[in-house]
Structures are given as structure tokens and as C-alpha cells.
């Protein structure tokens, strides 16, 4: 059982080394790369600009960006789907009747069939 947190490096050290190696190569690449001075943001509220970008009102925004209304809506659907999916996955069958995460787990459900 691995319920208790513990640092058990012994058997997986080799695999861990791969992560370290990845960091090493990436660091080597990044450090040697030159990006020049960042442009940064001027005046104006960044948060407000984000809001405008989300609702496709970029002409009002202080900072340049693309509009994301469609993406925003899609994310909305994705979240709902994920929620439903999570509930679906989490339900469990016990003694013939389905017990879902949304039921009140304390009640006896045998009398009323499925919930």
C-alpha cells in the first residue's frame, strides 16, 4: 500500500535520472538562447484586456490580443462534459442498484430501485 507519503527513490532512481537529464538539456538550450529585451506591457489594465479578449471586444482593450469568444464557449462545454464524465466515472454499482456521486449515500436505496 502506498497510502503513506514516503520518498522511495531506490528502485526508480534510474527513471528519475531521465527527468534530471531532461532538465539538463533544456537548461543548456535555454541558457544559451538569446531572446532580446522583452517588450513588456505599457499602461492600461492587463486584467481588463483579458476580459475584453475573452468576449471578443479586443478593440476596447488596452493591450493587443486575439479574440477568444469561441474558445471560451468551448471550454465551457468541455468543463460541463468533464463534470458529467467525472460523475459518470465515479458512480458505482452496489448490489444491483447504481450509486452515483450525486446521491445521498446514507439512504437505503433498495426500496426505490435505481436513483
Amino acid at each position: 500500500m502506498t497510502t503513506r507519503p514516503e520518498l522511495n527513490l531506490g528502485e526508480h532512481l534510474l527513471a528519475g535520472l531521465a527527468a534530471v537529464a531532461l532538465f539538463a538539456v533544456m537548461a543548456a538550450v535555454f541558457v544559451s538562447a538569446g531572446f532580446g529585451q522583452p517588450a513588456g506591457f505599457g499602461d492600461g489594465s492587463i486584467t481588463a484586456s483579458i476580459g475584453y479578449a475573452l468576449f471578443a471586444m479586443t478593440d476596447l482593450a488596452a493591450h493587443e490580443s486575439e479574440s477568444f469568444l469561441v474558445a471560451f464557449e468551448i471550454i465551457d462545454i468541455v468543463l460541463v462534459a468533464a463534470l458529467v464524465g467525472a460523475v459518470m466515472l465515479a458512480r458505482r454499482e452496489s448490489e444491483g442498484s447504481l450509486v452515483t456521486a450525486l446521491t445521498d449515500g446514507g439512504r437505503d436505496t433498495d426500496d426505490g430501485g435505481e436513483n
Binding site: 528519475g16 531521465a18 534530471v20 522583452p38 513588456g40 493587443e64 471550454i75 468541455v78 463534470l83 466515472l89
Partner: protein, 101 residues
């Protein structure tokens, strides 16, 4: 004097590799989920860093989306872990190998 972008990248790479280290060395699915969150956020750091680099807000908006998706991912992930536990009476990822072939 703003900080050069490669240092953000370095930070992001470090976060990513820490998350990866977790995935590679742990067998507990919950810890997996945490490590994956770490890796996702490493990507967010990148997005924000480049947003700053180019003075374009898109990267920041995107990082918001990523967080929303991360939430969805966690919800599904926890659900999967629940099923995993139910089927294998354990959350050890090495046990769930029945779908390999």
C-alpha cells in the same frame, strides 16, 4: 530592467522536470495527478512569460484556459482514479496493466 525571458523558461523547465520526476518515480495515482498539475503549470509559466516578451495578452488568456482545462482534467482524473481503486482495490498505477495488449 525586466528579467530576461530565459530565466522564466528555466523556472518552467525546472517545474516541468520536477513534475516529471514525480511521475517517473511514484506509483500512487494521486501523486501522478499532482505531478501532472505541476507540469501543466510549467506550461502556464511559459505562456505568461512569452506574453510578456511579445507584449501580447494572448498568452495570458491562454493560461487562463489552461487552468480551466486543468480543472476539468482533475475532475476526470479523480474519477478515473476512483474507478481504478474500485477495480484494483489500489491506486498503484503499475497494477493496472490489463489493457496492454
Amino acid at each position: 530592467m525586466a528579467i530576461q525571458v530565459q530565466y522564466y523558461l528555466l523556472l518552467s523547465a525546472a517545474m516541468f522536470c520536477i513534475g516529471l520526476f514525480g511521475i517517473l518515480t511514484r506509483r500512487n495515482a494521486l501523486l501522478f495527478l499532482m505531478s501532472v498539475e505541476l507540469m501543466l503549470n510549467a506550461a502556464n509559466v511559459n505562456l505568461v512569460a512569452f506574453s510578456f516578451q511579445y507584449g501580447n495578452i494572448t498568452g495570458q488568456v491562454f493560461s487562463l484556459f489552461t487552468m480551466a482545462l486543468a480543472a476539468a482534467e482533475v475532475a476526470v482524473g479523480i474519477g478515473i482514479i476512483l474507478v481504478l481503486y474500485r477495480n484494483f482495490k489500489d491506486v498503484d498505477v503499475t497494477k493496472a496493466a490489463t489493457m496492454r495488449w
